[in-house]
């Protein structure tokens, strides 16, 4: 009994300590927003890497998801003669939920893993120490540009993903399920509200920040060797994915709780 309590105590203390470390890390990252020097070239590179180079995977994910969603809603709606709601449900499903969440998870897989592996490798090969000896703060040079780029570009990716997802539903709806093209688009536009789009973009910004922060945090705290790099990458992706899903629930509650 005492042993179990001791184990529980250690676990709780460990979790609180980890939460404290992460909170301090986040505060430190964002504090550098207001303290020069800044590295615009690094920020530009991060925008290209996080945003531009993620477009193909985001586009394909959204396209297939939108198409599959249209098929599911059509076949599910047919059970109670509601096939006609395909355009509206595809639009609301993509914009409110699937667009931001799937883009967030793809970013966690593609960007968080890349950031964590790159920074962890830099750590184990002493490149981070080299940065410090060259009077360059790793938080300013490595972390802030990546986190900022993810925070600003993921909403754009989410917006593009929403549009492509709706387009995927449109293609399936019009060419496979026989919907009228103009009617499909009109229903989509009429049904979406500003809050739907705002929530989608806001989720994108939060998910981007979480993906960037998780990658940098686990990369900078990597243990030595190839195993350390692998563990940092895995932990970064898992943490980003879980945080994105948890944040999605909280943000949905904030935006849409009746």
């Amino acid at each position: 009994m005492i042993r179990a309590l001791a184990w529980l105590g250690r676990l709780t203390l460990g979790l609180i300590a980890a939460l404290g470390r992460m909170t301090l890390f986040v505060l430190e990252v964002f504090s550098h927003l207001f303290r020069p020097p800044w590295y615009p070239r690094e920020f530009g590179n991060a925008v290209m890497s996080v945003g531009w180079q993620s477009l193909p995977v985001v586009g394909l994910t959204a396209l297939f998801t939108g198409g599959a969603l249209a098929l599911q809603i059509y076949s599910g709606g047919a059970r109670f003669s509601a096939e006609a709601v395909v355009p509206q449900i595809v639009a609301i499903g993509m914009v409110r939920e699937l667009g931001p969440v799937l883009v967030g998870l793809m970013i966690a897989a593609r960007v968080t893993s890349s950031i964590a592996a790159e920074i962890a490798t830099m750590k184990v090969t002493e490149q981070i120490d080299a940065l410090v000896t060259l009077s360059t703060h790793p938080m300013k040079y490595l972390t802030l540009p990546r986190v900022l780029a993810a925070t600003l570009t993921v909403p754009v990716l989410v917006g593009i993903g929403d549009v492509i997802g709706i387009f995927g539903g449109y293609v399936v709806g019009v060419y496979r399920l026989g919907f009228n093209a103009a009617g499909y688009l009109q229903n989509t536009v009429d049904f979406l509200e500003a809050l739907d789009i705002l929530s989608s973009l806001a989720k994108g910004a939060v998910f981007g920040a979480l993906a960037g922060l998780a990658g940098c945090y686990y990369g900078l705290n990597s243990a030595r060797g190839a195993m350390g790099v692998g563990r940092a990458t895995k932990s970064g992706v898992v943490a980003a994915a879980v945080l994105i899903l948890a944040a999605n629930f909280v943000l949905t509650e904030v935006f849409f709780s009746a």
Binding site: M122, T125, E126, A130, T133, S135, T136
Partner: protein
């Protein structure tokens, strides 16, 4: 120039530095020797502020390093890392000119590139390597680029961490000679960490031996063979038998 007084550093139960006392005069080339895992690199990292000692004081130029402005302090240093630690994503010349392209010592890009090419030439590399990425270079060439980066901003103090590790004996000799020449012509204070005795004899003015977390012996390199210390004697002659415990 550099003074360490009773510096202690532990990692959990592992007491790596147990009270280091060491003085390095301006313009002197000090080589710190000792077995693997004795904390040689930790000494350098404590001086640079990459690690914080638990006790003791480190002074550079009479100033306590824990109280100085970090940027101004680090601007006085250059460092060659054990595995060179070149930035993979940057071409060679930008690695060399890293400090000159940003921060307080920033220069116009063309000037920074010209300085990088001059430093590369000084370490025996031509302009054809300037645009290559570090991964496209051999280990010896990477070491030279690391050396060029360490001297790019004409630092007062240069640290060399295992400068010949992983190099063949001929290339190791070339790097040792380059270090000695550069330190002499720049008039810089140099601290080298190594367990390669050929480096010691080529680079050192003075030698300090680190053992069991303390400086076991320190003196001029010319006296190292006649020091009469059994630990030092075992180490410099590479004998398995002696007071230093070895795993067999």
């Amino acid at each position: 120039m550099i003074r360490l007084s009773q510096v202690k550093k532990s990692f959990g139960d592992n007491h790596v530095l147990r009270g280091i006392d060491l003085e390095i005069a301006r313009g002197e080339s000090m080589v710190v020797i000792g077995g693997s895992g004795t904390g040689k690199s930790v000494v350098l990292k404590c001086i640079l502020g990459l690690m914080t000692p638990e006790a003791g004081m480190i002074e550079v130029g009479g100033q306590d390093v824990s109280r100085v402005s970090r940027d101004a302090f680090l601007a006085r240093f250059g460092m060659l890392f054990q595995a060179s630690a070149l930035f993979d994503s940057l071409p060679v010349w930008q690695n060399v000119a890293f400090r000159l392209l940003r921060g307080a010592q920033k220069r116009p890009k063309a000037e920074a590139r010209a300085i990088a090419l001059t430093k590369l030439r000084r370490v025996g590399l031509g302009p054809e390597v300037a645009e290559r990425l570090p991964a496209e270079l051999s280990g010896g060439m990477q070491k030279r680029v690391g050396l060029a980066r360490a001297i790019a901003a004409d630092p007062e103090i240069i640290f060399f961490d295992e400068p010949t590790t992983g190099l063949d004996p001929i290339m190791a000799g070339v790097i040792n000679d380059l270090i000695r020449e550069i330190v002499t012509e720049m008039g810089a204070t140099a601290v080298t960490i190594t367990h390669d005795m050929s480096s010691v004899r080529a680079i050192a003015d003075r030698v300090a031996m680190l053992h069991h977390g303390k400086i076991r012996w320190a003196g001029p390199v010319s006296e190292i063979d006649q020091a009469g210390d059994p630990y030092l004697d075992q180490f410099i002659n590479g004998r398995a038998e002696g007071p230093i415990e070895t795993l067999r």
